[in-house]
Amino acid sequence: MTSDYAIIGGGIVGLSTAWGLLKRGLRVTVLDGDDGSFRASRGNFGLVWVQGKGLNAPVYASWSQRSAAAWSDFAAELADATGFDLGLEQRGGYDLHFSEESLEATVARYEGLKAELGGDYPYEVLGHNALRREEPAIGPKVAGAILHHQDGHANPLKLLRALAADVRRLGGVILNGKTVTDVTRDDHFKITCADGTEVRAQKTVLSAGLGAMTLGPKLGFKAPIRPQRGQVLITEKLPKIINRPSLIARQVDEGGIQIGATNEEVGLDDHVTQPGLSGLAAEAIAAYPVLAKAQLVRSWGALRILSPDGLPIYQQSTEMPGAYLVTCHSGITLAAAHARFLPAWLEAAGDAPDLEIFSEARF
């Protein structure tokens, strides 16, 4: 049997895309790796985030905004279908600053972007005292924050679980434990796996995260992506301390406080280091001093999938038309966009978004 689409990679990006395609009535087979694979979908920070993105590329900023605006509906539809509440909260998020200078410098950049977006960039600047009213636990070292009203967070693991369940329910086939070794194309695509499994499809989407480094060139892509490690900490469950998320810390729906993250170029190394953990812990305590007594119960290193400019790549292969590269490092934020808008682009439908700036031509 030949599917309409074979999706290589069953993480958030692959499953969101598969879900959207299934909703359009297409037949989809997803090939996913094994239990021990590097999985950015399991290690990310869970932010549905707008601020700070696309400061040099307004199209990326508005792509993120479109996705954030669509997230609520997307989460509700998944919750209705699967019974899994995704824990979405979109009540704004902070960029915390420890100095007036850095705060002002960021505001200046945001003003520039806001102008490019025709004013649609709803943020406000909170001085320390105003911030204290919103976040009673904020520490004295925090000079202030930029509160962006389109920011929020969700439970990325519940998102993953809900997508896996609903893709199946919608008739998608998910094959787990598969390592794709080869892809060929005559009148359709034939995807071969290490264990001999073969999947045939009219079109192929490569959404395998870091797997695109090896598979991308086989499909005719440049795939100039590299891993970047972020170390993340999570504490014991605590009473409510943090009201809105920031890049430094957020309180997850389960009660633990998640703290992140480093930006290290260390290749495919997902270990954590004591200096890395110490630095993150220190920053979290500077922001929220009460965290000094919180017990760390888990830490991990997750590998971001980064393009040279940090923007997503959406590209149809010129060598193998019908093969598409879909990769980004903001898979949670863009999950709604990948579910709702990307399938139209894959289908070259009338309502396809203009994703030209995300093509590989820019490299």
């Binding site: 014991e236 469950k237 605590l238 009473p239 409510k240 729906d253 389960e254 009660g255 007594k293 017990q295």
Partner: protein, 104 residues
């Protein structure tokens, strides 16, 4: 054996001084330097905590610092009672992240 406790000290703790501690609202006299979980069991304290997920009652299970079911909170710090020793004026509470803050 203390009333309300299923645990008997084989030799009463006369070789060690008793000190005042508090568990929640209860005032207790426990042997100084004794393993805290053991001393609380003898004093008839049960449960030690309620789980953050469902509020279920829990008490010590492994007594060797591996299961974390004996977690208590002392001075804002959660710790395993079976890995602590009784000190004077200890103020012990159930961990604060009890049911109501977590969401399964």
């Amino acid at each position: 054996m203390k009333p309300g406790s299923n645990f008997r000290e084989l030799t009463p703790a006369s070789d060690r001084a008793l000190v005042d501690v508090r568990f929640g609202a209860r005032a207790l006299r426990l042997p100084l330097g004794e393993n805290l979980a053991a001393a609380l069991l003898v004093a008839g304290i049960m449960p030690f905590r309620q789980t953050p997920v469902s509020g279920a009652p829990r008490g010590p299970f492994c007594m060797m610092g591996a299961c974390f079911d004996c977690l208590v909170e002392i001075d804002g710090l959660t710790g395993q009672a079976c890995m602590l020793a009784v000190t004077e004026d200890m103020a012990i509470d159930m961990p604060a992240a009890g049911k109501g803050d977590g969401d399964a």
